[in-house]
């Protein structure tokens, strides 16, 4: 890649660190929430909002905007932090996450939060919703794209596979799903809870174009999104190989940090690690 792209990747990597810092701050302050799956989802959603998607925080209802739907709604802190940094609402709102009389609910609500496309939190709905948005795009002859992120455990749900059939039946090439393949859900490893492999073969047998990448490598994310947009007559699934808790050593691959926020010591350690990473990225 040329130096222009190196700059871009560095910029997005830095934004990702900033978002991770927001997430840790928010969850520490809220004393509840889901660190693991919020952290694994950061790099892909950052790349969508800060590079790939056509959207404008000043016009959240623009009918031509690209759409992003967070089907795994428990990663709300990631989306909130990104929307705030994009200017959809004041960054100060982030410190009221999960508090009474404040805007940012534990799970995304489209009614009350600018930039949120779908109310999620009950797993398994988002892909069907995204299908609806993609079908509307075809009906209205719009050229917007629809992106939806799924958890890997989430794909236990039967509704996901109903939606997978429908998306390929209707040839929704304006739809891209991103699978946060971190191999963990709540009760343990996805393969112990309810086997998902072979994920790649499953989705391709449902008629999807499948791309598999390192979900924390910005360059690969950028390239796969372009490739997905170019797909014709079928939806694309990007399998993001990720690490649950990514960026915080003691949270990485640790199932205990699915739904437990950092305590004071963990908060300090986490911020120290993220600050060090930020310094390193800024330095080079």
């Amino acid at each position: 890649m040329n130096s222009h792209n190196d700059e871009l990747i560095k910029k997005l990597d830095l934004i990702s660190v900033k978002i991770r810092k927001h997430i840790i701050e928010m969850l520490y302050k809220a004393k509840s929430g889901h660190p693991g799956g919020s952290l694994s989802a950061v790099d892909a959603i950052v790349t969508l909002y800060f590079h790939h998607m056509r959207h404008n925080a000043k016009k959240p209802d623009d009918p031509d905007r690209d759409r992003f739907i967070l089907s795994k709604g428990h990663a709300a802190p990631t989306l909130y932090a990104i929307l705030a940094e994009c200017g959809y609402f004041d960054v100060k709102e982030l410190n009221g996450l999960r508090e009474i009389n404040r805007m940012l609910q534990g799970h995304p609500v489209c009614q009350h939060i600018p930039g949120i496309e779908a109310s999620t939190g009950s797993l398994g709905h988002g892909l069907s919703f995204a299908n609806g948005v993609a079908l509307a795009g075809k009906l209205d002859k719009k050229d917007y794209n629809v992106y939806v992120m799924l958890g890997d455990g989430e794909t236990d749900e039967g509704q996901i596979w109903e939606a997978a059939s429908a998306a390929s039946h209707y040839k929704l090439d304006n739809l891209t799903a991103l699978l946060d393949r971190n191999f963990l859900q709540i009760d343990g490893n996805t393969e112990d809870v309810l086997r998902l492999e072979s994920v790649r073969e499953r989705w391709s047998s449902f008629g999807w174009k499948v791309i598999e990448i390192d979900g924390h490598d910005i360059k690969q994310i950028i390239e796969s999104l372009h490739e997905a947009d170019e797909g014709k007559n079928q939806p694309t699934m990007i399998i993001l190989n990720t690490v649950k808790g990514k960026g915080i050593s003691f949270m990485e691959n640790n199932v205990d940090f699915h739904g437990v926020p950092p305590n004071e010591l963990e908060y300090k350690l986490a911020m120290r690690e993220l600050n060090a990473l930020q310094g390193k990225l800024e330095g080079f």
Partner: protein, 314 residues
């Protein structure tokens, strides 16, 4: 005096283990929430009779019914929001219509779920389950009552739904109390003759606190712990109407379709024999927040009950 707390979820998990020892045909299913619903306690003890179904609640409910059709006592658990609305047709066809011996035990019911927000605060489950023929519906008020009711659920045949909250709850009954608890028989937890507060689940403790507040103003409230919402204890409701002349229902649930509706149906058909008010969530979705702040904002704590009593009987 500070209250002794115990989590009804733990009581559920522990009771499952005791029952599992007694009944070799008892099986347990969960949908990726076994650490939260506490079925994990059973899973560790009886791994062969525990089925981890993943995040696939619809599949879990119909599977539980299939197991029951072969003589198993099936307990299926997840959060209340996923245990009812998400899987309504599976429950309706395979469990209620088929009169299957499936026990749905849901945790994280009501607004005391707190910070996860309205998406996870199930306030319609009692209504949804109550309208199903054959289905019995319970909302135990503390850990002791949870133990006793889970025992009854295992030994009495038929489809049943029980819900408890997420949080630890003050113990209302001592560990060995309620040996004679019966499905469909409400409990007069404290007596009084000026008003009856008929409550279920978490609201029983708030009702007891309200009773204390009221007694300072010489109002004597009767508190009924209506752990079984269906079949509802009609005799007790009518007795309260006659003896106290005023009834308030209190539930951590929508005022539509739950305990308040069940009681009002009885009263209306008897010609409205007493003054009556329903307390609960007033047909709205709530929000994220600390449980105690939510109970205060949405009109469901002891002060609200006391105030409502005074307005009703003045």
């Amino acid at each position: 005096m500070s209250k002794v707390m115990e989590n009804p979820r733990n009581a559920y998990g522990e009771t499952l283990v005791e029952l599992g020892k007694k009944y070799s045909n008892l099986v347990v299913l969960d949908a990726d929430l076994s650490k939260s619903t506490k079925t994990v306690i059973f899973a560790k003890k009886y791994p062969d009779r525990f089925f981890e179904m993943g995040i696939a609640e619809a599949n879990m409910m119909s599977t539980a019914a299939g197991l029951a059709s072969c003589g198993k006592i099936s307990f299926a658990s997840t959060f209340a929001v996923f245990a009812t609305g998400r899987v309504y047709d599976q429950i309706r066809m395979d469990i209620a219509y088929s009169n299957a011996n499936v026990k749905i035990f849901a945790t994280h019911g009501g607004i005391s779920v707190g910070k996860d927000g309205a998406s996870h605060q199930m306030i319609e489950d009692i209504a949804l389950m109550r309208v199903l023929p054959n289905m019995m519906v319970f909302a135990p008020s503390d850990a002791t009552q949870t133990r006793r009711l889970v025992e009854r659920m295992a030994t009495k045949y038929g489809p049943m739904y029980a819900r408890v909250g997420r949080a630890s709850a003050p113990l209302i009954y001592k560990k060995d109390d309620l040996k004679d608890i019966e499905i469909g028989r409400g409990i007069i937890t404290e007596d009084g003759y000026d008003v009856s507060i008929i409550a279920c689940g978490t609201m029983v403790d708030y009702a007891l606190d309200a009773r204390k507040l009221l007694s300072k103003e010489s109002i004597k409230a009767r508190v009924i712990d209506m752990h079984t919402i269906k079949p509802i204890d009609k005799k007790l409701v009518l007795k309260c109407a006659k003896e106290t002349n005023a009834i308030i229902t209190a539930e951590e649930h929508s005022v539509i379709g739950g305990l308040g509706s069940a009681v009002s149906e009885i009263l209306a058909e008897e010609g409205c024999p007493c003054k009556f008010r329903r307390m609960g969530i007033q047909d709205i979705f709530c929000e994220s927040g600390e449980p105690k702040d939510l109970f205060a904002k949405y009109g469901l704590n002891a002060n609200h009950i006391a105030k409502t009593v005074k307005e009703l009987i003045k």
